[in-house]
Structures are given as structure tokens and as C-alpha cells.
């Protein structure tokens, strides 16, 4: 499913369109009009008796009855004035604009080792398609191999320590790559959450408008107008894991646990994520108010599910980060003392048992 981004202006306009439709249907449809009249009268009573009104800030009009046409229009306009902001508040920058961040991370991973066999990106879920190393760089393992060949005749404690240092750096590079891929994966997940928020709020708006539009043709005794919004946000993280697996990443990249006891890759931590979940939310009713209530319920569900996905993202990142810090010394390798102490050593020291000499 391709992702279509809806910007802040589009969301604002969608909200305004729904607001205007809700007002016009209320004024045109008999049942909604009657319901609004009753609500206005009730709120006028609340206003007059100092109670909190259902429409925030409403006060009984100075002239005319609360439910006459002019005052009712003002009441309904006030009641639905907040709708555009409900949609505009979900505006986010286009997730696809962050693609260079992912490309950079995958290029770093490929610089350490090229074994990402992922195919090109072809769905709404991002999957790495940049598997080339950073320009002008050589692979870490290739360089280490070359250095070791040059050093093969050099022995002594410092020489041995230095070779060992090169080896552990090569191993550390694998862990650094795992951190890089986990960063990429968590970023993919965040961007997928953002895509689905954008998609779902648009879906809610479209279905709300459709339900309101259905009331325009409604006649007394007819069926209620009804639409269903399909919310996809609940499957955001699972979709990223699934996309990584099906894109050919396999165990080599996204789904692998690193070879350090107790340190799992983020993909492994998330592998128990709930499967793809879509929720259908009904938005409908015989009058405008239940449709707007349905819209609000759908928005609340979107917000609640978004919170759950965010929490899952945070929990996974926390676990991974804790393990990473626990294994810090395996990832950042300092040159051994036996080697660095030769920094200003004289020839006798260098050629001694503790130094570096030709075999």
C-alpha cells in the first residue's frame, strides 16, 4: 500500500470541510435540527443557572430564543468550531523526507560489512535500498586483513598485542554495525508510526465526511448514515519488522542477534510484537451528533494506539540501549598498553621481548 502524505494545510482544510458539513447538515436535516434545538435550549438553561455548558463558552443569546434559526446557527457553529484543530493537530512532517537519515545509517552499516541483501523499497514501509558503503571508504575487515599480512613477520609482546587489537576492532565493528542497524530499525519504526498516523487521521476525516454527507439524503424513517474507518496505526512496528524480513534482510541484518551473550538486536527484541493489526471503527448515526461522537472516538482510539506503539518503541530501545551500555567495552576498543607504551620508547625497549621485532 503506497503512502500518500497529507500536509498540515490539507488536514486543516479537511477539518474545516467536516465542520462546515456538520453545520449545514444540522441546519438542513430535520432530526439533526431538532436535536440541536434541544441542545441549545439545554445549554441556555445551564448558562442561565451558572452550570457548565456542553458547548464550551456558550452563553444564552441576548436577543431571540436560543433555538431560533439565527441563534441556533451560531450555537452549532460554536459547537463544531474545534473540529479543524482536531485534524490539524495531527499534522507531522512528511516521514519520507527523512529518507536520507536511513540511507546514511545503512551506508555506515555497509561500510563495516556488505551483506545487506535487501531489495529495493516498494511499499509504504521503508526497507533499506542503499547498501553501498560510504564513498571513498574501504571495508574495515579488508583493511585489517591487509595490515595483518604486513605484520606477519613482526613478533614480541607489543606486536602480538597490536595484532590482537586489530582483531578485536574487527569484531567490535560487527557490534557497531548492529547498533547502526538497530538505530535504523527504530527510525524506520518511528517513521512508519508517523505514516500511519497521517493515513489514519485522513481516513477518519474522510469517513466522517462521508457519514455526514449520507445524512444529506436522509429522510425521516430512513436508515442511519454509517461509515467505517480502518485504523492501521496498531501494526506500525510489526510492519517494519515484517518488511525487514520479507525484503531479504533475513538473519544477516535486521533480525539477527549479535554474538554477545545477553545482547539482542532490536529486531529480536521486537520479534514478539503483536502481528499486523487493523481496527475498524464505525462512524455513523441518524443525526450529526453521533457521527461527530464517532469521529471523536476514532480519534481517541488513534491517540491511544499511538501511545501504545510509542511505548513499544521506547521499551525496545531502552532494552537495547541497556545491553549496549553493558557491552560498551566490546564496542569501543582502546589500543593496548603493551603497544602504546612504545610511543616514545628507545630501540632497546622496542627490540626487547616486550616490544616489536622481526621474527
Amino acid at each position: 500500500m503506497a503512502f500518500t502524505y497529507h500536509g498540515p494545510d490539507q488536514l486543516q482544510q479537511l477539518g474545516e470541510k467536516i465542520r462546515d458539513k456538520a453545520i449545514s447538515v444540522t441546519m438542513d436535516q430535520a432530526a439533526s435540527y431538532a436535536a440541536a434545538q434541544q441542545a441549545a435550549v439545554n445549554d441556555a438553561t445551564r448558562s442561565d443557572t451558572g452550570q457548565v455548558t456542553q458547548v464550551p463558552g456558550y452563553t444564552t443569546p441576548a436577543g431571540g430564543r436560543p433555538d431560533d434559526e439565527g441563534n441556533l446557527l451560531a450555537y452549532v457553529a460554536q459547537a463544531y468550531a474545534g473540529i479543524p484543530a482536531m485534524f490539524a493537530s495531527f499534522a507531522l512532517p512528511n516521514p519520507d523526507d527523512c529518507r536520507p537519515m536511513l540511507d546514511a545509517l545503512y551506508a555506515v552499516a555497509a561500510t563495516v560489512k556488505v551483506d545487506l541483501t535487501m531489495t529495493s523499497r516498494n511499499s509504504s514501509v521503508a526497507a533499506p535500498d542503499a547498501v553501498a558503503p560510504l564513498p571513498g571508504t574501504a571495508h574495515v575487515a579488508d583493511i585489517v586483513d591487509a595490515a595483518k599480512l604486513h605484520l606477519k613477520e613482526w613478533i614480541g609482546n607489543a606486536a602480538n598485542s597490536f595484532e590482537h587489537y586489530l582483531d578485536v576492532n574487527a569484531r567490535a565493528a560487527v557490534l557497531q554495525r548492529e547498533v547502526t542497524l538497530s538505530l535504523a530499525l527504530s527510525l524506520e519504526a518511528q517513521l512508519e508510526i508517523n505514516r500511519r498516523v497521517n493515513t489514519d487521521i485522513w481516513e477518519i476525516g474522510q469517513k466522517t465526511y462521508k457519514a455526514l454527507d449520507g445524512l444529506d439524503a436522509w429522510c425521516p424513517g430512513g436508515n442511519a448514515s454509517k461509515a467505517s474507518a480502518l485504523l492501521t496505526i496498531g501494526g506500525a512496528i510489526a510492519a517494519v519488522i515484517f518488511a525487514g524480513a520479507t525484503a531479504g534482510a533475513g538473519t544477516a541484518a535486521l533480525a539477527a542477534a549479535v554474538s554477545v551473550e545477553g545482547w539482542q538486536s532490536l529486531a529480536t527484541i521486537w520479534s514478539n510484537s503483536k502481528p499486523l493489526q487493523e481496527k475498524k471503527v464505525d462512524i455513523g448515526g441518524r443525526t450529526v451528533p453521533p457521527i461527530i461522537t464517532g469521529m471523536q472516538n476514532a480519534i481517541n482510539l488513534l491517540t491511544k494506539t499511538l501511545d501504545t506503539q510509542n511505548q513499544e518503541l521506547v521499551n525496545g530501545l531502552s532494552k537495547f540501549t541497556d545491553a549496549f551500555h553493558h557491552n560498551w567495552n566490546d564496542v569501543l576498543i582502546a589500543a593496548p598498553d603493551k603497544f602504546t607504551k612504545l610511543r616514545s620508547a628507545d630501540r632497546d625497549t622496542i627490540s626487547g621481548t616486550d616490544g616489536m621485532f622481526v621474527r
Binding site: 613482526w154 597490536f162 508510526i193 540501549t321 569501543l332 602504546t340
Partner: protein, 136 residues
């Protein structure tokens, strides 16, 4: 081992100090910079509805900073190791005139003798500057 034979072995060390370790350092510095560049767009990636910031942002950027610093420090460590090797070569050469003469003759005019095929492709570009996050 003395003279030209020893010079050949010193030359091997010099290749490591002047070619391999700078190439490693270059790779790590490039990775450090690439990771650093992700900071420019993270505001957009971790924006939350209502103008807030996504809860994962702090953890993510902290992990990113850690990785960036590790890559940057590894780049610096590699250069540092190269300095030690260079000192070892110089110290041996200073005590063996024949070896020094042979070594410098082999490296004269910008030559780098004894390169492996793979090393011919290693970068000789100027090292990109390392960017470290200061709050690490």
C-alpha cells in the same frame, strides 16, 4: 636482521602506519560524519502530533550520539596507533644506517612500496574531521 632485509620489514610496518591505519581512520571518520548528519533531520522524524516530540526521541538521539562518538574515537585511536608504529620505524631506522638508506630509497618520490592489491584502492584522501558529541 639488518640492512636492506630489515628495511623491507620496516617498510611493511610503514605501510600499516601510513596506509592501512589512515584508511581505517578515514572509514571510521566518514562513518562518524554520516551518523552526525542524521541529526539535521531528526526533528522531523520525531515530531509528535500536537507539536510535541515523540517519546523515543531522547533514547534514539542518545544512542545515535553514543555510536557517533564510538566511531569518532575509533578513528582517532587508529591514527594514534599509526603514530606509535611510525615511531617504531623511525627508531629502528635511526639505529641502522643501511636499513634507513634502503627504506628511504624505496619510499622516495612519493612511492609506497609493497602495497597489496586491495591497498591500491584504499583512500588517500585527507581525513574528514571527526565530530564528537560533547555531552557523552
Amino acid at each position: 636482521m639488518e640492512g636492506w632485509q630489515f628495511a623491507a620489514e620496516l617498510s611493511q610496518l610503514r605501510v600499516v602506519s601510513r596506509v592501512d591505519l589512515p584508511a581505517l581512520s578515514h572509514a571510521y571518520a566518514s562513518m562518524n560524519q554520516a551518523v552526525d548528519r542524521t541529526a539535521g533531520q531528526e526533528g522531523g522524524a520525531f515530531a509528535a502530533p500536537g507539536g510535541g516530540v515523540a517519546p523515543a526521541h531522547g533514547l534514539w538521539s542518545s544512542l545515535r550520539d553514543d555510536l557517533q562518538n564510538i566511531l569518532g574515537r575509533t578513528a582517532t585511536n587508529m591514527l594514534d596507533a599509526g603514530v606509535v608504529l611510525e615511531h617504531i620505524v623511525d627508531t629502528y631506522a635511526a639505529a641502522d644506517a643501511a636499513a634507513a638508506s634502503s627504506l628511504e630509497a624505496a619510499w622516495a618520490g612519493g612511492q609506497t612500496p609493497g602495497l597489496l592489491e586491495a591497498e591500491e584502492r584504499f583512500t588517500r584522501e585527507v581525513l574528514p574531521p571527526v565530530v564528537l558529541k560533547t555531552d557523552d
